[in-house]
């Protein structure tokens, strides 16, 4: 299991949604979401890692604590996957967008949107 998956698993075991978790612990939601999806590596800074562990309710010295830090250590030795495969991008594109006027977007914006998903 990758670090991000582990973090998500612990959060969800506590029945806490991503939004509630980020708001309660003042985590940046964009970055935290990337972390859980393995797009961002775990923080290198130990204090930041500990803050995350505490926010997840992981007790120091527990098996969960050990696993949390082992996975972070292993993960930090890897290069994050910055560019998604074409097939995966396509699976994440919308058929409908929720816009204020309920309208479609133009082609220029479509290109930018693809870029945004690539980097998300």
């Amino acid at each position: 299991m990758r670090f991000g998956e582990y973090v998500k698993k612990i959060r969800q075991q506590k029945q806490i949604t991503l939004r509630r978790f980020c708001l309660e612990h003042s985590f940046d939601p964009g970055n935290h979401s990337k972390l859980e999806r393995g797009i961002l590596n775990p923080p290198q800074d130990e204090d930041k890692l500990k803050s995350l562990a505490y926010a997840l309710g992981i007790k120091q010295g527990s098996n969960e604590w050990e696993e949390f830090f082992s996975l972070a250590f292993i993960e930090n030795g890897k290069i994050p996957k910055e560019i998604m495969e074409n097939g995966l991008i396509v699976s994440k594109l919308p058929l409908f967008f929720r816009t204020l006027k309920g309208e479609k977007i133009d082609e220029t914006k479509m290109d930018k949107l693809i870029q945004l998903i690539r980097e998300s």
């Binding site: 969800q12 029945q15 949604t17 991503l18 939004r19 509630r20 980020c22 708001l23 939601p29 964009g30 979401s33 859980e36 999806r37 074409n86 097939g87 991008i89 396509v90 699976s91 994440k92 594109l93 919308p94 058929l95 409908f96 967008f97 929720r98 816009t99 204020l100 006027k101 309920g102 309208e103 479609k104 977007i105 082609e107 914006k109 479509m110 290109d111 930018k112 949107l113 693809i114 945004l116 998903i117 998300s120």
Partner: protein, 210 residues
Amino acid sequence: MVFDENLYKAPFYDYDLIRREVMNFVNHYSISADVPIDIDYIVEFDLGMDVVPLNGLHLAFGIDSWLSKDLKTVYIDEDVFKRSDNRYRFSLAHEVGHFWLHGDFIRKFDFSNTTEWKEFQSNFPSEQYSWFETHAYDFAGLLLVPAEKLRHKFDEQISLVVGAGEKVEKFSNEILLGFITRRLGDYFQVSKGVVEKRIFKDGLTLKPGG
């Protein structure tokens, strides 16, 4: 990919049919009737979707949210995620509407690259596109503002006005509606506009004959 105009045709869903579909959805996932409806929880835990905040989505594209083609992820504007409870909740409910009402439609399409996706988007007739959006909008309103609770709270608010010694007839419809939609919007955690549409669609009247 060959595009056939019929492929884009929106199914015919009137408001009552969507109302029944919302009930089916609620029963299927045993959604609690507690208000405000915990749509955040429903999306992540009942439907098992990821919610992914994207910075600048609204500013750059005018988009609040979308449901991914694989039906597994709701992308949402990060500012809405962080700062706007009502819009966040409504956006999620709207995407759940697409999931429940249009899942079969969405699954029909298989893009092998982004060019095919862009072609699909360009060919999508605006009129049909609007119908899909209307369905999801109505679904969201019905899900977040359940009929029975709406009627009960609506009557309660009217009684409050009357109980305060004011005759309902004394107020203009506009003032009364503004008062009620604000109170009910706070209760259901949706915008005043959503409440207003729900009141109208459920045929709740402010005054006798009004």
